[in-house]
Symmetry: C2
DNA sequence: TTCATTTCTTGATGTACATCAATGCAGCCG
DNA sequence: CGGCTGCATTGATGTACATCAAGAAATGAA
C-alpha cells in the first residue's frame, strides 16, 4: 500500500525484457497475489522515493475487505486487456494520457512505452505524429 | 453465472472486429461490471446452449461475497495481461492449451485466435509448426 | 561551468503478424 | 446424390511495430 511516492510492478520475459504491469501511485495497493504453489510473475520497485504500508494478504483482507475496490481493480484490468487486444499504439497512448494524466508527468517515457507494450522509439514517433496533428 | 453450456464475452473495436475477452464455461460468472455512468465494453453471447443464473450485482454480492474468487479472477486477468505484453503468438497458444485444455475442444479455432489476439490464419500456422516439431 | 549518464529522437532495416484471396474440407439439408 | 455454408488451411503481399545504430537533448554531479 503506497502512502507516498510511486511504485512499478513488472515482469521480465524470456528475452530479459521488462514489461510494466502497473504503476502504483499514492493509495494504490501493489502486489502480485501469486496463487499458493506457483511462482510469482511480478517484480516491484520504486520509481520515486516512497513510503509504504506493508501487510500480508490476511492482514489486508481483515482490515479492509473492500469488495468495491477489488471490483474497480478488476475493471481496470479488463480495460487494459481490451486495450491491448483491440487498440494500436496511438490509441493506447491516447487512452493512457486521458486515464492517467498525472502519471505521465512522473515517469520517463520509456516506462510508459513499456506499460503500453511498445518500444520507446515507437512511443516517440506516436507523440511526434500527435503533436504535428494538433497544429 | 453459467450452470451449463459455454458463453463468450467480447469487445468490438473501431473497425468492427471482435476480440474475445473471456470464455465462460460451467460455474463461471460472466459479466461486464461497467462502472456507473460509463458505457459497457463487453458483449456476451452463447457458444453452446446454456443454462444461466442471472443476478444483479447487489444480489450476487449479498449471496456470495467471495473475496477469494475475486482474487483468483484478478490473478487470471493479470496472467492474461502479462501474456499479451510479453509473449508471442506461439507462446500464448501454448500457454492457453495448458491452462484451458477443456476449452480447446469446445470452441472453433477462430475464437481461440480471437482470445489470443491473433488472426485465425496466424493460429493455423502456429499449430502447423507445433505439430511438425512434435515428430 | 564541464563532464558523464541517461533519456529522447531520428533514420534504416528487419520481422511477426495481418490482410487478401484461393482452395480444401467437413457437415448439413434439399 | 449435388450443392450449399461455414471453418481451416495455404500462399502472396502488406504493414505496424521492433531492432539496431547514431545523434541530440536533458539531467545531475563535481
Amino acid at each position: 500500500m503506497v502512502e507516498s511516492g510511486l511504485l512499478r510492478s513488472y515482469t521480465v520475459d524470456s528475452k530479459g525484457k521488462e514489461h510494466i504491469y502497473m504503476f502504483g501511485p499514492e493509495n494504490w495497493i501493489v502486489t502480485d497475489n501469486c496463487p499458493p504453489g506457483s511462482p510469482c510473475q511480478l517484480y516491484i520497485d520504486a520509481i520515486e522515493d516512497a513510503v509504504l504500508k506493508v501487510a500480508t494478504k490476511e492482514e489486508l483482507l481483515k482490515e479492509t475487505p473492500d469488495i468495491n475496490a477489488l471490483l474497480r481493480r478488476l475493471n481496470a484490468m479488463q480495460t487494459r486487456i481490451v486495450m491491448l487486444m483491440s487498440a494500436n499504439a496511438k490509441e493506447r497512448y491516447e487512452h493512457f494520457i486521458q486515464t492517467y494524466p498525472d502519471i505521465i508527468q512522473r515517469v520517463p517515457q520509456r516506462m510508459i512505452a513499456s506499460y503500453l507494450g511498445i518500444t520507446p522509439e515507437a512511443l516517440s514517433r506516436v507523440r511526434k505524429e500527435l503533436s504535428h496533428r494538433q497544429q
